[in-house]
């Protein structure tokens, strides 16, 4: 499914649900890149219909509102919105 990998240091599995046009998603991506964290992002607005449905099913499990950005760490911690401090804690940055 349309996830894009970004290289960096392995801090566990970091998967973020984003929109290509969303400024808070952009800030989240920039924050991870600045801290050299390997992650993958899924730009929900750039997917075809089937991919989008599948991604929404996955996102909904974590975040009922399906809002972006949603950061999921190691399939266990979910952070909704660009909350720098919470992301730092989840990734021990």
């Amino acid at each position: 499914m349309g996830a894009t990998k970004v290289d960096g240091n392995d801090k566990g599995k970091v998967r973020i649900f984003t929109l290509s046009t969303c400024i808070w998603c952009k800030k989240t991506k920039e924050f991870l890149a600045q801290n050299n964290v390997a992650y993958e992002y899924i730009d929900m607005d750039m997917l075809d219909a089937d991919e989008k449905d599948a991604a929404l099913v996955e996102l909904k499990k974590w975040n009922e509102k399906c809002s972006m950005p949603t950061v999921v760490v190691n399939d266990s911690v979910c952070i909704v919105g660009f909350k720098e401090q919470e992301i730092r804690e989840a990734l021990s940055l």
């Binding site: 046009t21 969303c22 400024i23 808070w24 998603c25 509102k65 399906c66 972006m68 919105g81 909350k83």
Partner: protein, 185 residues
């Protein structure tokens, strides 16, 4: 992002969009985010969405791809004023309160105010079927007069401007006085 024209042309269009937003905001008593690169980034995203969908869908929300699914989130969205009032910024933080504009308050993440049924419909890409529950719209979308859910009408004591909404606007869009000059009508 959208391929139309050269880099320079694109930058000029973003600049023009930003200036237009800023001018319209000022004329209506609103404020754009004082972080100019931030606001310009959002201006560019609005241009991208205008090209992509044919209307300026909110850059920070998942569009349903059809105007009828996105009516409440065409910028400026139905939730802007309530979020600026409560959180100091709209969901994307393109529009901010006077306090934020004067750097007296920081912008923090704004929780999503859009009702779940509308988010759901946009995600599915289809309007809810007729027999299902009517969508609970935000207060600002309810009928202004009559009924138990009638929303209050506010009067600007300076110029007489009337508006039906949950709270008076931060600044009177007509004569620009502050909200403390409004009374319940």
């Amino acid at each position: 992002m959208s391929g139309a024209g050269t880099e320079g042309e694109r930058a000029a269009r973003v600049e023009a969009k930003y200036e237009k937003l800023k001018k319209e905001a000022a004329a209506g008593g609103y404020f754009l985010n004082p972080d100019e690169p931030f606001a310009k980034d959002l201006a560019e995203s609005l241009l991208v969405n205008e090209e992509r969908y044919g209307y300026a869908a909110c850059p920070c929300r998942l569009s349903g791809g059809k105007r009828e699914l996105d009516l409440d989130i065409i910028c400026p969205c139905d939730y802007r004023d309530a979020d600026v009032e409560e959180h100091g910024a709209c969901y994307c933080a393109l529009y901010v309160s006077g306090e934020v504009a004067r750097s007296e308050r920081e912008v923090e993440p704004v929780p999503e105010r859009r009702p779940d049924a509308l988010i759901e419909a946009a995600a599915k890409g289809e309007l809810p079927v007729a027999e299902s529950q009517p969508i609970e719209r935000a207060p600002s979308q309810r009928a202004a007069f009559g009924g138990s859910s009638a929303i209050p009408v506010w009067r600007c004591k300076v110029c007489g401007y009337l508006c039906a909404r949950d709270n008076p606007p931060g600044v009177c869009p007509i004569c620009k006085v502050t909200k403390d000059r409004f009374e319940r009508f």
